[in-house]
C-alpha cells in the first residue's frame, strides 16, 4: 500500500521559500499568481494492508518525526 503524507507550514506561519518563488514567478510575468506556499510530500510504501491500523501508525510517524507540529500541519492519504 502507498501512503502519501503532505506536510505544509501552518496558516499564518510565513513561508520564506514560497515568498521567494512567488517573486520569481512575478518576475517571469506570471502575474496571475496571488500567493505561493511550499510544502513537502513523503511517499511511504508499507506492507500492512489493514487500513485503520496503518493510518494510526502513520499519524504517529508524523507526530514523532515527519512533521514539526509547532510550525507544520500534515495530511495523510492512501494512494488508490
Amino acid at each position: 500500500m502507498k501512503i502519501i503524507v503532505n506536510i505544509q507550514l501552518k496558516e499564518g506561519v510565513l513561508d520564506p521559500q514560497g515568498k521567494a518563488v512567488h517573486h520569481a514567478l512575478l518576475a517571469l510575468q506570471f502575474n496571475e499568481v496571488q500567493n505561493v506556499r511550499i510544502g513537502k510530500q513523503i511517499i511511504l510504501d508499507v506492507e500492512d494492508n489493514e487500513k485503520e491500523k496503518i493510518l494510526k501508525r502513520v499519524e504517529s510517524m508524523c507526530e514523532d518525526l515527519l512533521a514539526n507540529t509547532v510550525i507544520e500541519t500534515y495530511e495523510i492519504e492512501i494512494e488508490k
Binding site: 507550514l9 506561519v13 510565513l14 520564506p16 521559500q17 521567494a20 518525526l65 514539526n68 509547532v70 510550525i71
Partner: protein, 229 residues
C-alpha cells in the same frame, strides 16, 4: 569542569567546541552519538553545530533519536547543564527541551558572518559573566535560524527571563538577520539549565580571529559564584 561534546554524523563544530572549552580550562570529552550513557562526572553537555544527518527532513529532526539523546534528556531533566549551539539549538527545539521551532531564514539564504548580540538577561549561569545590555560580537552561520514561537508565548519567555540574547547592530539597535520572532538569538528553559543559541561563541575566543567575546560567555559555566535562586 567536565564537558562532554556529543558528536553526530554531520556535526562539524565539535573540535572547535572542544578547543574552546579546553582553552578556558575544562576537561573535554567527545562522545559519539551511539553511546547510551554519559560519563558519571559530566558537568555540562554540549550539542555542537553542523548538519547532523545531513539536516535531512528538517534541521536536527533525526538527531533527536540518537542513542546518546536518552541520557542527555535524563541529564537535563535532573537539572544538568546542557548547551546547544546552532544545529545543537535546533536539536533542543526538536526534542522539546526548549520551546518553539526553527524555519528557513527569512531571506532564504545561508547567512555566515559576524553578528552583534545584545544581552537581555544574565540571570542564568551561561551569561552570568556578562552584563545586561552588553553588546557581543559573535559569528553566525545558518540557513534555518528563523526562530518561531506563537505570539501568546513570547511574553512568557521574557517574563521568565528565558530570552538571553537578541540580534542587534553595533550600537545595540534592532537588527534581524534571519527573521526570528523578536530578534531572539538565545533561549533557555524555565529552570535555566538548558541553553540554546544560533551564534557560535566557540568561534569567537581569540582576538586574532576577530573577537574573543565568546570567552566570557563560555566562562559563565565555570562561575561558581552564580547560583540559581
Amino acid at each position: 569542569m567536565k564537558v562532554v561534546v556529543a558528536v553526530f554524523p554531520g556535526t562539524n563544530c565539535e573540535i572547535d567546541t572542544k578547543y574552546a572549552f579546553e582553552k578556558i580550562g575544562c576537561d573535554v570529552e567527545l562522545l559519539f552519538h551511539k553511546n547510551n550513557q554519559l560519563p558519571n562526572n559530566t558537568d555540562l553537555v554540549v550539542l555542537p553545530g553542523g548538519f547532523s544527518y545531513g539536516d535531512y527532513l528538517r534541521s536536527a529532526a533525526i538527531a533527536k533519536f540518537s542513542p546518546v539523546m536518552n541520557p542527555v534528556i535524563e541529564f537535563a531533566n535532573k537539572g544538568g547543564m546542557v548547551l546547544g549551539i546552532c544545529n545543537g539549538f535546533q536539536m533542543l527545539l526538536e526534542m522539546k527541551l526548549l520551546p518553539g521551532a526553527m524555519k528557513r531564514n527569512q531571506n532564504t539564504h545561508f547567512i555566515s558572518k559576524y553578528q552583534y548580540l545584545k544581552v537581555i538577561s544574565n540571570n542564568n549561569k551561561f551569561l552570568s559573566k556578562t552584563e545586561v545590555g552588553d553588546i557581543l560580537n559573535i559569528p553566525i552561520a545558518h540557513g534555518e535560524g528563523n526562530f518561531f514561537i506563537k505570539d501568546d508565548k513570547i511574553k512568557e519567555l521574557y517574563d521568565n527571563e528565558q530570552v538571553l540574547l537578541e540580534y542587534c547592530d553595533k550600537d545595540g539597535d534592532k537588527e534581524n538577520p534571519n527573521g526570528s520572532v523578536s530578534q531572539i538569538a538565545c533561549l533557555c528553559n524555565r529552570e535555566k539549565n538548558v541553553f540554546g543559541l544560533m551564534p557560535h561563541p566557540e568561534r569567537a575566543i581569540e582576538d586574532l580571529l576577530g573577537s574573543n567575546d565568546g570567552v566570557k560567555m563560555l566562562e559563565g559555566f565555570l562561575n561558581n559564584s552564580y547560583s540559581a535562586n
